[in-house]
Amino acid sequence: MEIPYTSKPRPDTGLYNAKVGIWLFLASEVMLFGALFSAYILLRVGAGEGTWPHGLLSIPIGTFNTFVLITSSVTVVLGWASLQVGNFGRYKVYQAITILCAFGFLGIKSFEYRDKFKHYEVWLKNPITVHQGGKEVQTDRLLGHIEYEGHHPYFWNTARLAGSPEIKDKNGKVVKAAVARVESFKFQPDPIHYTMSPKEMAHAKKESFGHPHQEIEIKASDVKRLSAFVPSHSTFFAIYFTLTALHGLHVLGGAIVIFYIWGPGAKMWKTDPQRYMNRVEVSGLFWHFVDLVWIFLFPIIYLL
């Protein structure tokens, strides 16, 4: 006996197997992202005054990426619709756009990530005076960029400032080279801090527009805590990176599947067109779901 309903729908349910499968899978995905969104809400509601970073992500980039993803979503359905009328060439073109969009999205996202890894917050032991929003402000928490020996380093944290000794294994071979201690570093503070309200932040940005960055020297001994915008910076970045990375993995997975069906798997269009269309539809459903998740992700992490 062969497995039935791989391409034709079962009469009483009206569905073919893969369609049932993908919807079940998506149901489980709903629970997965639902749990993460719950965690987001909880951490956010539970965050103390002035500890939840906001306004640190680039809204224009996020918006652009949203457009990219929406576009890819519409090309998927249009491609599938083209197959419905037997227009394989049209389908090929539409899906090519989808795949390009997918990788475009990931490219932009990785660019954003990179930017975060060398953007810092420093908590000082004693407040200092800096320009913020056109006036002099006393503060012990600064955002900004580090310059050290002419580089903008990635991933620094408090421990990095203290350096680390050489590590040798049993045979005396050096497994990890010594890292030199940092005495002091240059810091270019941003004109804003997330402890400001959105309005104050917008104001500060406007005021400082066109002014060059001021540069200060910070002694390592004055630093209470230093962290790049990495997951351990705060629960905000923790959930930001977790959610977007998981979403990114879905984008990647979806793109690979769509590419496989589009390229090497396209032979099936000749042998079993109905099943081929089913595959396109099913991969499309997954793709729309990924888009749908982003529709919620974008406002809650970029805007709120």
């Binding site: 006996m1 062969e2 497995i3 039935p4 309903y5 079962r10 349910t13 569905l15 073919y16 197997n17 893969a18 049932v20 499968g21 079940l24 899978f25 149901a27 489980s28 995905e29 629970m31 997965l32 992202f33 639902g34 749990a35 993460l36 965690a39 909880l42 951490l43 539970g46 965050a47 103390g48 500890t51 408090t158 421990a159 962290s227 990495v230 997951p231 351990s232 910076h233 705060s234 629960t235 923790a238 959930i239 977790t242 998981l246």
Partner: protein, 605 residues
């Protein structure tokens, strides 16, 4: 349909179209649900044995604090090492760390690597497509991937015991912050393995549900499904929808452990006298919520397939229809649904307010009603039967009172006020072991004895089966019954010394120390556990020897059952049925008035 000779010939011509499959294709990378089912079964049984072995070491430690583990102590000393390479079992004695490691691994292995894969992966895979008259699962290759992810996850856990610092030691519940404060990669291995296992069960669940929805044979309407299939169907949904939140939680805890985030770590945490270098701002309770959101449905994943197996065997061996088939089906659906909203009964003692705990107490009481209905239906099914006491039936019958004890003792735990005293004592241990060990495990034994002839064409030995049954039955009760008393008296679980420090410190003026009897019971339990182990030897021998030496079955339906799996050739060929079966009747048409035989198969017009 009973003519095997004819089928064999057919199967052969059918196969001739394809290449003769190689050994690898046939047994290792098979996409045949029956082979995958057997793979699941053997792997899960091995893990079951291993989980039991860990527990034997622990029971020894509890009964003999400070003494080396006999026989294998020195071997363990070599194998299990600290992060700095020193042995964790100095002189073959289990340190508290090792006790915690074994405890956490026992819980995790038993639940995720032994019972679920056996009940869902093995029986579900082997039996469900046969019972609904399908040629295979809806997605055979995904089915294979499901097993492979399971194996990989299991091996990850197994391997983690031997890494420096050894495996996870924060209990199977992995509560944060404890799980994030132990200096070993054990917890990370546990979480990675967990993600693999969740992937496996996700693939499995999608496959099962899609198969049951789509591949039922003509005439196999929903209300003609054998109860076992219903149980698996609901179990599939539990796995599908309850596991993802744990996956999310697992990923977050992995981030906490490896990338220094603070999802579950609050501000101001100070471990070992130092303020932790973390951002803080997280919530330890969030982990508990996400864990138990899975945790509770998970326990029904452990029990529902077992109930399914028992129902099949009882119907067959009483030679009559199950009483209240519809009530059974609706109850199992109700359990499935309600099990998602009772989870916080594991968290009463976190101190959440009266209103929310009233809500969870209500749902907990409500969910015991469908369980009672299921059990009652099975009991009433006995009435008017003609009961055959073969080995599968003995195990199935024993399941009923054992589950009854386990289930009933769940009730006091379900009330926040009573749980105040019983929480985290051996009473809880006894409660759930009554459901999972003499409950589920007995049902699984029953299933093995029952379906063995279908898988191999030979019967298992009845005499040794009965020895296995009576030995297991007696020793199981000797192990778990005393725990109720210990727990009620206040003995707390997860004590590496069996609670002895309470007694030692009990100077004359101290009120409420534990009496010596409760510690003496440790010895009883230890020897009962050893007895239980010995009683498994006849089973293991019987299982493997019967494959070659067992009595050959004389026809495809040795138990004279009605469901479709018995209407195939033995063992069923690739593709299962020689021609698509058509279903004409209810699943349990035993002893129909006026019928020629006392059973009428579902595909008989």
């Amino acid at each position: 349909m009973q003519a095997s000779a004819h089928t064999d010939a057919h199967a052969h011509t059918h196969d001739a179209h394809h290449h003769e499959p190689s050994f690898l294709q046939k047994y290792v990378f098979s996409t045949d649900h029956k082979v995958i089912g057997i793979q699941y079964g053997l792997t899960a049984l091995s893990f079951l044995l291993f989980g039991f072995f860990l527990m034997l070491c622990m029971r020894w430690q509890i009964a003999h604090p400070g003494q080396p583990v006999p026989l294998i102590g020195s071997l363990l000393e070599i194998l299990i090492r600290n992060t700095d390479g020193t042995p964790l079992l100095a002189g073959g004695q289990m340190s508290p760390d090792v006790y915690n490691i074994f405890g956490a691994m026992h819980g995790n292995i038993m639940v995720f690597l032994a019972v679920v894969p056996l009940a869902f992966g093995a029986f579900g895979n082997y039996v469900v497509p046969l019972q609904i008259g399908a040629p295979d699962m809806a997605f055979p290759r995904i089915n294979m991937a499901s097993y492979q992810f399971y194996l990989l996850g299991g091996l990850t856990w197994f391997a983690s015991i031997f890494i420096p610092g050894s495996a996870a030691q924060a209990g199977w519940t992995s509560y944060s912050p404890l799980a994030s404060t132990i200096a070993s990669y054990g917890q990370a291995f546990l979480l990675v393995g967990l993600v693999l296992l969740i992937t496996s069960s996700l693939l499995g669940a999608v496959n099962f549900i899609a198969t049951i929805i789509q591949l039922r044979a003509p005439g196999m309407t929903w209300m003609r499904l054998p109860f076992f299939v219903w149980a698996q169907f609901v179990t599939g949904f539990l796995l599908l929808l309850a596991f993802p939140p744990l996956e999310a939680a697992g990923v977050m805890q992995l981030m906490d452990n490896l990338f220094g985030t603070s999802f579950f770590l609050p501000t101001g945490l100070a471990v070992g006298g130092k303020i932790a270098e973390i951002s803080g701002g997280g919530s330890p309770l969030l982990w508990q919520h996400l864990f138990w959101f899975l945790g509770h449905p998970e326990v029904y994943v452990l029990i529902l397939p077992a109930m399914g197996v028992v129902a099949e065997i009882i119907a067959c061996n009483t030679r009559k229809a199950l009483w209240g088939y519809k009530s059974l089906v609706y109850s199992v659906l109700a359990i499935g649904f309600i099990s998602f909203i009772v989870w916080a009964h594991h968290m009463y003692l976190t101190g959440m307010g009266t209103k929310i705990s009233a809500f969870f107490q209500t749902t907990t009481m409500i969910i015991s009603i469908p369980s009672i209905i299921i059990l009652t239906c099975l009991f009433i099914s006995l009435w008017g039967g003609s009961i055959r006491f073969n080995t599968p039936m003995l195990f199935a019958l024993a399941f009923l009172p054992m589950f009854g004890i386990g289930g009933l003792t769940g009730l006091p735990l379900g009330f926040a006020a009573a749980d105040l005293h019983l929480h985290d004592t051996y009473y809880v241990i006894a409660h759930f072991h009554y459901v999972v060990a003499p409950g589920t495990i007995f049902a699984l034994f029953a299933g093995i004895y029952y379906w063995f002839p279908k898988m191999t064409g030979r019967m298992m030995n009845e005499f040794w089966g009965k020895v296995h049954f009576w030995g297991s039955f007696i020793f199981m009760n000797l192990i778990f019954q005393p725990m109720f008393f210990q727990g009620m008296a206040g003995m707390i679980r997860r004590m590496s010394d069996g609670g002895i420090q309470y007694a030692q410190k009990a100077d004359a003026k101290l009120i409420g120390g534990l009496d010596k009897v409760y510690f003496d019971l440790h010895t009883v339990i230890l020897w009962a556990a050893v007895g239980l182990a010995v009683c498994q030897i006849p089973f293991i021998l019987n299982l493997f020897m019967s494959i070659y030496k067992g009595k050959k079955v004389t026809n495809d339906n040795p138990w004279e059952a009605t469901t479709l799996e018995w209407q195939t050739p033995t063992p069923p060929p690739h593709g299962n049925f020689t021609k698509e079966p058509t279903v004409h009747r209810n699943p349990y048409d035993y002893s129909l008035p006026g019928a020629a035989k006392d059973f009428t198969p579902q595909n008989q017009p």
